[in-house]
Amino acid sequence: MAEPTPGTPLVELIDVHKGFGPVSVLKGVSLTVYPGKVTALVGDNGAGKSTLIKGLAGVQPYDSGQVLVDGRRVDLHGPREAAALGIEVVYQDLALCDNLDIVQNMFLGREETSWGTFDEGRMEREASETLRSLSVRTVKSVRQKVSSLSGGQRQTVAIARSVLKKARLVILDEPTAALGVAQTEQVLALVRRLAEQGVGVLLISHNLADVFAVADDIAVLYLGQMVAQIPAADTDRDDVVAYITGSKSPEGEAA
């Protein structure tokens, strides 16, 4: 495998396996994510990308293998454990509640309370601050219902939600899949800003143009195996496509 980016890894997966009955989806995957870097995870449909991130999110724990955070071994058995370690996922279907407003969505499942009831002022302030720190100016009011937002705004809220509680690793699942050109630009800029703030970003995408626009590292999954993790600067589009389609493999490569 190619040389990874130097520095202390934020999250390391070592030889993780996951199967569903007789079907083995992850066959010994290793992955390294560094703080302040955008690592893109690419691979064809069915390569195991979703399974890999669900394991990291604690939604579907891995069958075997190690997860290291800051070099320490951790167990991920639920979304709360992952969140406690600073791992947040922004899902492709966004996982927002249309009937709630932006503040309510950003604090869902971790509401701030005082004396048993909501501390609305504090939540509203923190939500606004987080949006401001990400230089989000497209949202008119944080008390807007999410149902009234555009696709790009919803993506923005979902990403802001993930960093609200000082996330250290943010996993973005196809953040630009349903967006137009201008909105894609906005979201990619947001991804860069996350990394600049020192957050480790794991970006899952099918769109190689997006990947090369923001990624520092590119990791390629092929049929449940990690075939490459290479700095984006050391590779090109054709190379990555070859890994994704399986026409190039780590053993036989001449990179």
């Binding site: 969140a83 249309d98 009937n99 407003d101 971790r110 909501f118």
Partner: protein, 414 residues
């Protein structure tokens, strides 16, 4: 009664800034009326029947005794509606509440007649049995994953059957006076001054009025502090005056009859408590989240099964309370008790703006919905309209209310 609905919707996006103060006021009036359509409907229904029931220069509907009756007669439906709207917001339904109310009424009778339990213990144990009934249904819904419609349909049959079993094919009658007070009692039963206007009622009504004024004023000041938009002073004052006059007249009506019904005290306490749960507690917020997007709620770390379970435990307790109030009112636990209560409670929630697919609905709305049904029942009875037409009219009103809601949502692009 204070209005717990704090719908924090922003004004329609893209609305042009009002040109002057008159149009500003007008646009606020229009948007407020649209948002509180259900409340306007209640006022309209009351106005309609007030006029229709005028006999010899006096409106029967607005007689103090009738107003007092209206509350007491509908108390148990309103108690059920509070629980039901939360169940509906989470995307479930509960068809069993009428049967559970009958079952608990019977159980409380047995506690008193056969076990000789004092009234307070009988009430307490009955509420505990209600919680167990709710836990039973909540278990199947939340942890086994059977749809609430099926579980509570089964519950409707099971608990109607068990009510008959407990009663042993006979009525249980004659409950202790204290027990009967929850359905029949008035504050003047304890503090009777013999004055034409009960002073205690006036004091409590006065406190309520002051509470309303202070609360709305503080909300306005807080919005101003956060530099948020506030409604024009004229409309703000008009609404406040309307609320104060309404509560004031209601207070005078009660004070000139027998004082405050115990059922109303129970109801007011429930509305306050559940208003806080709905708007300001984690449990309440999670109910709305689950109704809005169950999958998203789960991914956010909300324990959706636990919320579902406790929601039905809560419904069981409220169904038990409704059963107790009904039994106390009739001074009788009978096999037909609670017949059709579930439908009235569900209607109340939907008339009050709850959405079938979940995520939307308020306790304030459900209470208003329940009052609309109550005024319809009461008004039509005064007019001597037969039960068959009352049923038909109520069905029609339910359909209209929901159709209005659908129309409103479509117009606002959602």
């Amino acid at each position: 009664m204070s209005e717990p609905t704090t719908r924090t919707e922003e004004p329609e996006a893209g609305l042009a800034p009002p040109a002057n103060r008159f149009t500003a006021t007008l646009s606020h009036v229009v948007s407020d009326l649209g948002r509180n359509g259900i409340f306007i409907a209640l006022v309209a229904v009351i106005a309609l029947f007030s006029i229709l029931t005028i006999r010899g220069g006096d409106s029967i509907l607005l007689r103090p005794q009738n107003i007092s009756n209206l509350i007491v007669q509908n108390g148990y439906i309103l108690v059920l509606a509070i629980g039901m709207v939360l169940v509906i917001v989470a995307g479930h339904i509960d068809l069993s509440v009428g049967s559970v109310a009958a079952f608990i009424g019977a159980v409380s009778g047995v506690f008193i007649r056969d076990f000789g339990a004092p009234w307070w213990l009988a009430i307490l144990l009955s509420l505990v049995v209600g919680a167990i009934v709710g836990a039973w249904q909540g278990f199947w819904i939340a942890f086994v994953g059977i749809p609430a419609f099926i579980v509570t349909l089964a519950g409707m049959l099971i608990f109607r059957g068990l009510a008959l079993v407990v009663l042993g094919n006979a009525n249980i009658g004659s409950f202790p006076e204290e027990y009967r007070a929850i359905g029949n009692g008035f504050t003047t039963d304890w503090f009777d001054t013999g004055l034409p206007l009960d002073p205690l009622t006036l004091v409590i009504g006065g406190v309520a009025v002051i509470g309303i004024v202070v609360q709305t004023w503080r909300a306005r000041v807080a919005r101003l502090q956060y530099a948020q938009e506030v409604e024009p002073v004229a409309w703000f004052v008009a609404k406040l005056v309307f609320a104060v006059v309404g509560v004031g007249l209601f207070t005078f009506a009660l004070a000139s009859f027998k004082g405050i019904p115990v059922t109303l005290i129970i109801l007011a306490a429930l509305v306050l408590i559940y208003g806080i749960i709905q708007n300001r507690s984690v449990f309440g917020r999670h109910i709305y989240a689950i109704g809005g997007n169950r999958h998203a709620a789960e991914l956010s770390g909300i324990k959706t099964r636990q919320v579902d379970f406790w929601l039905f435990v809560n419904m069981g307790v409220l169904a038990a309370l409704a059963g107790l109030i009904f039994t106390a009112r009739l001074n009788l636990a009978g096999p037909k008790a609670g017949d059709g209560f579930e439908l009235e409670a569900i209607s109340a929630a939907f008339i009050g703006g709850a959405a079938v697919q979940g995520g939307v609905g308020t306790i304030g709305g459900a209470i208003i919905g329940g009052l609309i049904i109550g005024v319809l029942n009461n008004g039509m009875s005064i007019l001597g309209i037969g039960i068959e037409w009352q049923q038909a009219v109520k069905g029609f009103v339910l359909l209209l209310a929901v159709a209005f809601d659908v129309f409103n949502k479509r117009r606002s692009g959602r």
